[in-house]
Every structure is written in structure tokens, then in C-alpha cells.
Symmetry: C2
Subunit: 220 residues, 2 copies
DNA sequence: AACAATTTTTAGATACATCTAAAATATATT
DNA sequence: AATATATTTTAGATGTATCTAAAAATTGTT
């Protein structure tokens, strides 16, 4: 099959395509992969030879159907393993990413699908990111950010956009977790900071934070 | 840490040391690793530089304490993952080895130890092989082979020496499994074949088979 | 349109793990 | 002890993934 490196590039291109829909630039990929542009060019040529991406010199890359399928399979494995680590092995949500980076490369369709069943076919990983099914379909969408809600609205926290250890620990510290209701008491126009109410306690959060929290608004 | 390749060599040396206690020869290692003697020499030099093995030209290799510790850690992971696959994910004992070959290289002490606890700290893997604890101690020994028992004796099947798919499927077909009692009705001196009784049914097995089954004799 | 700055590619090098073929060493046989 | 055979090592090559430095192409600015 494909090497770890190839799979990691495919995953990175998949994520960057959301932002750069006209084609992912060499530099953008280099930054994401924490490597040099020249290395990216080398790898992109190889992926192109294997028909995993469409690539024309100086014009960036896009995933082919085959490339997209492979990327989604890797993402599926990554997120299922994260659920396993948190649900079954007592890991906290800020500890699982690096291990999932390793586990996502294990090759066995049966393993992936049995793991999925064992975990009860979860639709989201511990950070609220959607888990594609065995056919590669994402069954839910992360729509709204907390920053998009208005004063008076309430949303249930369903995911995080930033899943860095730092952000996750900030959330833990302030008792913000997936499933919690967040009510917007006041929105400061100047810096877009929010005064919110969680578990009947008031908390002031910055736009940086509210812009990294996905919510599902509640009808009121 | 160490590369997959380095870890696989350490594991192979560990297993071969039982047979070649005076030092594992380059050719023996090459055969085990399914590679060329020249490749083995290259790798052995690298392992020696890293002080994982003791090596003198033309005299074979032995694991250092550090090398042995690393090998045992890899074996621990391999066998724990095999238990996980069989006990939790509905794999049969002849399907797990190749996947465990991948999973044994995942680097996370916490993962290994949490997995161990999750599985109830098993002492044996699905093939009856002993699983070392977090300190590297094997808590049980595979002592006797069925072929070593005499006419009239009974043993409980506790492990397999050969864990190839072919042998495991042969055992399944003949309803021989770990935990089963095997009584020796008659031993043919000419070819060492055995007439045994399992679940009150008689079965004729060859020396090849009886020499690959570990048993714990029952007092009678 | 010309020049400057940025981006991207190419050329050439390094490290790893492997190979083949040849040389060196050790072991077995007469 | 000399010779033949087997084992092991060395020398040199290949493929992958990475890097630095230089060249080429694109984009932005006067
Ligand atoms: Mn992750
Ligand atoms: Mn990865
Ligand atoms: Mn195994
Ligand atoms: Mn292995």
C-alpha cells in the first residue's frame, strides 16, 4: 500500500483543500507538514505518478478520487483510535492525538471496522470531529462556531476547531466540555469577547476561544 | 527511539538466542528476517554502535541488557495486541499475527500499560505464549510438550510452539484448543504418533503435531 | 514593461535499509 | 597441512525520504 509519509501528505492535502479549494500550494503544504518546499515538490510528484493527486507545475495539488478515498480512510482510523483511547483506555482528550498519528497507519480493513463496531459506531471523535463510515461518508457536519451566535442564544458545544493540547487544557480548566450548554449573556462589540453562562456560572471568553468552539444552537 | 527494522531485529535475536545461546550467527538471523547476510551485518553493526547488542566479527551477536529490555517490550506489545484482537474485536487466533506485527511498534508506554489493564493483565496471548509484565518479567513458563508425555498421562493444552495459520487451522478443525484436556491412549514407537482422547473422542496425531503443543500435565 | 520579491522547481548531497558480487575468514575434508 | 566448502564481511549500487543552495517561474510594484 502507501507509506506513512504518503498517507500523511494525503491527509494534509485533504485538510488544506477546505481552505485552498483552487489547489493547495507547495508552501502551504510545506508549512502544514513542517518540511521544506523542495521535499513537498518531490513527494507531490510521486503522489502524482501514483495518481493520488492532480498536479501541474507551479499550480498546486488537488486530491484525485483515489487520493481522497485514501485520505478519508486514514482520518477514519485516526478518529476511531482517538475514541478508543478516551472511551476504553482512560486517556484525556488532550493526550490522544500523537498516539493516533501512529495508529492511523495500521493497515487492516477488518481491524478498522471491528474497532468501529466495538466502539458503537461513533459519529464524532473526542474533539467533536466527524468520523466517516466505512464507505467514507461523513454523517454529520460541524456547522456553527460559538462566535457566530448572537446575544441571547444558547448552543450545545459539539466540537473544537483547534485541538491543540493548550486549548483543550484551557477548556478543561474552565469546565467547558462537549455536550455543555453555553448561553450568550453579552457580546462586547469592540473585541468580540463574550460573557457566557455555563452550568449557571458566568465566564468571559475571548473571540479566539469562541471562534474555536463548534456549537449546535438550541431553539428557544 | 528505535526504527521498526531495529525493533524487528532485536526481537528476532531474542527468539534465536534460546536456540543459539553462544551467539546468534549472521546466517541464522538472515533466515529469520528473510533477508541477506550482508544486510544483517549492516544492521548488526548499527545495533552494536547503539549498544543494543554485543558483536564481534565472525562470532555472532548477543543482546545487551538494553537490547533485551527493548526486545521484551516489543514482545509484550505484540502479545497484548493479539489478546485485544481476539478478546475484544472478534478475531480468530490465526488472523492476529500480521496485525500485531504492525501494532507492536506503536510507541507509548501509557498505551501499553492501559491496554494491559483493560485486558485484565493477561498472562498468555491467544497462542499460549507468555506475556511479560511492565517490568519485563515473564510470569509463567512454557515447560512441557505433548510429545514429552507418556502413555496414560493427561495434559491441559496451554500453548502452541508453531503459531502458523496452517497449524492453528488444523487444531481448530480437530477441536483442539487452549484449555482442552488431552489424554494419551497409546504412543506408537515407530513414528512417535499418538492416539489421544479429547472430549471423549479419540484422535490420531503425528509427532509433528504433538511436538508443537505445550501442555501442563495433570496429576492422576 | 521593467524590476523586485516571492514562490516553486531542480540539482546535488545525506541518512537509512536494502541488494549483488567479490573478498576475507572460518570450518570441514582429504 | 593443504585444499575445498561454507560463512561472513566489505565494496559498491539502488530506492526512499529528506535537506541546502541555486536556478527558474510566477506574482507584485513602480
Ligand atoms: Mn487528532
Ligand atoms: Mn499521521
Ligand atoms: Mn504473533
Ligand atoms: Mn514486527
Amino acid at each position: 500500500m502507501f507509506s506513512f509519509s504518503e498517507e500523511n501528505y494525503l491527509k494534509a492535502i485533504f485538510h488544506l483543500q477546505k481552505k485552498y479549494s483552487g489547489g493547495v500550494s507547495t508552501n502551504a503544504l510545506a508549512e502544514q507538514m513542517e518540511t521544506k518546499a523542495s521535499s513537498v515538490t518531490d513527494m507531490v510528484k510521486k503522489l502524482s505518478d501514483k495518481e493520488l493527486v492532480k498536479y501541474k507545475k507551479y499550480q498546486g495539488v488537488k486530491l484525485s478520487e483515489k487520493g481522497k478515498k485514501t485520505a478519508v480512510e486514514v482520518i477514519r482510523k485516526h478518529r476511531l483510535w482517538e475514541v478508543f483511547l478516551v472511551e476504553k483506555l482512560n486517556f484525556s482528550w488532550d493526550e490522544v492525538h500523537d498516539i493516533a498519528e501512529q495508529l492511523e497507519h495500521i493497515k487492516s480493513a477488518k481491524l478498522t471496522n471491528e474497532l468501529d463496531n466495538f466502539l458503537g459506531n461513533p459519529k464524532r471523535d473526542p474533539h467533536g470531529d466527524p468520523i466517516p463510515d466505512a464507505q467514507g461518508n461523513f454523517r454529520i457536519a460541524n456547522n456553527l462556531l460559538l462566535a457566530d451566535l448572537e446575544k441571547g442564544q444558547t448552543g450545545v458545544c459539539v466540537g473544537v476547531k483547534d485541538s491543540s493540547t493548550e486549548f483543550l487544557r484551557y477548556l478543561d480548566k474552565n469546565h467547558i466540555a462537549l455536550g455543555k450548554q453555553i448561553h450568550i449573556v453579552y457580546k462586547e462589540e469592540y473585541d468580540k469577547s463574550l460573557l457566557v453562562k455555563i452550568d449557571d456560572k458566568e465566564l468571559l471568553i475571548s473571540h479566539t476561544v469562541s471562534n474555536n468552539l463548534f456549537v449546535k444552537p438550541i431553539e428557544s
